[in-house]
Amino acid sequence: MAQILQPGTAAPDFALPVTPDQKLSLRELRGRPVILVFYPADWSPVCGDELGVFNEILPEFGKYNAELVGISVDGAWCHDAFAKDRHLHFPLLCDFEPKGAVAKKYGAYREADGFCERALFLIDAQGVIRWSYCSPVAVNPGADGVLAALESLGKK
């Protein structure tokens, strides 16, 4: 498993396509907490998987004014079809060209497989990583860890 960026590290900025003709940068989200979800691929055969669960709890993340963003190496058209099919209500970014470049900066790229780890990062309003977690690729992480981290962010 790759060594992912640890709490206390400034989150590397990036600008990635979020639709076929639009980009989203991390900098644009400054001022509120950001949850970055790296995941291996769209169209995972598991229904009710990680992204599905995160999608259902968007209102909980909303209580912390947090933005949820998914990242994989899939292309924009693929993301578009996937998000529509699964009714996902948060942006999916394309770490597509150069492939996996952002995931590599976060230590969340699986070179041998050519896709992202299942890695979660909580970035605070100032752009600093406050919590991170890398799950075995076959195990969906739940949202319990990131929610607990969001909660303690509020208390500091």
Partner: protein, 172 residues
């Protein structure tokens, strides 16, 4: 780990003090939960009195439009002490979920179809379902079905042999 302890408020089959408590977070419209349904029955039969089974709601409503009303229908039945009959009825007819089925199942259980419709319309049982859901999120439910064996999340396959082996492992 399971953050919400099993109590008498849960839908439970068996003794909550049994050596093994198997908790399922499930979605009535999820095909994997439908697949797990007869497996859980076999597991219950296999362990008999040594195992208690708890079902908690985890509807993924964005993906499964009938999951929430199905869960609320089961909760409605629970208010009339018919939870497990409704639970079984819903899973056994998973291909035909919808108001028509819910009404039919209610009538079979001698429950008022009109009361059911009022309850669903007024989202009377939504708080209960939501409460299950949020407790599941806090416990690390990462998809459906998610099983907990004596409080520990069971990751990996959930065929009969897998669950039996995992349960035996937790029984010590």
């Amino acid at each position: 780990m399971l953050k919400v302890p099993v109590t008498s408020d849960d839908h439970i089959q068996g003794d909550e003090k049994a050596p093994v408590v198997l908790v399922e977070y499930g979605d009535y419209e999820c095909p994997h939960c439908g697949h797990a349904y007869p497996i859980v029955k076999s597991v219950q039969k296999h362990f008999g009195k040594r195992l208690a089974f708890v079902f908690r709601n985890f509807p993924l409503s964005q993906m499964h439009p009938n999951a929430e009303p199905a869960a609320e229908t089961a909760e409605f039945a629970d208010a009339h002490q018919r939870f497990w009959q409704m639970h079984d009825g819903i899973f056994q007819n998973q291909e035909n979920l919808g108001m028509e089925l819910f009404v039919e199942l209610a009538e079979e259980l001698k429950l008022s179809a009109a009361d059911l419709q009022t309850a669903l319309k007024g989202r009377e049982y939504e708080p209960r379902v939501k409460n299950d859901f949020l407790g599941g999120v806090r416990s690390g439910v990462n998809g459906t079905p998610t099983f907990f064996i004596n409080g520990h999340r069971h990751d990996g396959p959930f065929e009969f042999e897998d669950l039996v082996a995992a349960i035996e492992g937790r029984m010590g």
